[in-house]
Subunit: 151 residues, 2 copies
Amino acid sequence: METEPELPLALRAAYLALHRKTDARFTKLDVTADQFVLLTALSDGQVLTQRELAGRISSDPSTVRAMLVLLERKGFVKRDVHPTDLRAKAVSLTTVGKRMQKKLWKAGQPIRDEMYRCMSPDEADVLVTLLCKMACVLSDVSVPVQAPSKR
Amino acid sequence: METEPELPLALRAAYLALHRKTDARFTKLDVTADQFVLLTALSDGQVLTQRELAGRISSDPSTVRAMLVLLERKGFVKRDVHPTDLRAKAVSLTTVGKRMQKKLWKAGQPIRDEMYRCMSPDEADVLVTLLCKMACVLSDVSVPVQAPSKR
DNA sequence: TATTGTTATACTCTATAACTATA
DNA sequence: TATAGTTATAGAGTATAACAATA
């Protein structure tokens, strides 16, 4: 048989495991893993348009809009008029949203610790580098990554 | 700021990019990326119960059932009574399903090539190993991986 | 003309809980 | 008693296409 998924399947298994575990951890707080990702993209006082936000969290404008409606309803984000572009919205966290993001970040720490405990710091670097390369190539698009880490 | 998602975000970006690109590639054939994963789990003549299937594709019985209903409707899979366990179903590909899986596998090859072109064979091994370890740890469960590859 | 966001719409995947039938 | 699968149900995320307002 020619079947040899390997890398794709492994990627899937790892991501979905992370996603599920994160979801489970946040159930009590009534926030999904995806919503956490969005909140975190706005965490350090970032103010983004919905399109920028979509890029950061590997989503699309339509989905982001749906998510923002939910998060707005919970009082975690606000959408102000963009200062220079009247078409755009300036999305940011509310005070409540900031607090919740911190709470979620803390609640998720054990999961991140578990991930990093699987590998050496060097391996983690290689892993992140390769994942970013792949994401880049597969997106036919720029890199959706953050600033360099301290880890 | 303490923010440093890095690995989780990179994992997300890579997986979602793969998922989207795969979906896009299969649109014309009216099959989703997830359905492809399921079909491929059954590809080499495998006959699995729905629970086993769920484990293989990192999903759950309820979701698998929903997927199987769709795939049955398309004529790609069949669910026979299990030979030894009357509660269980023996899920397998139909002839049409096998043909479609091969077609999809072929159609997806360029995507897999692109992924592997991002790294050396050694790096690919490291990557897969680390991803599997992570999936394993995060699942609090056994390893959802295939046989060793030739790559 | 191109772009940001909205709206409408639809579908897949996800997941829980209660249920049945077998083991 | 535990397990395999079903059912009902609900919701999140995804995505496309047509549209309005603005650049």
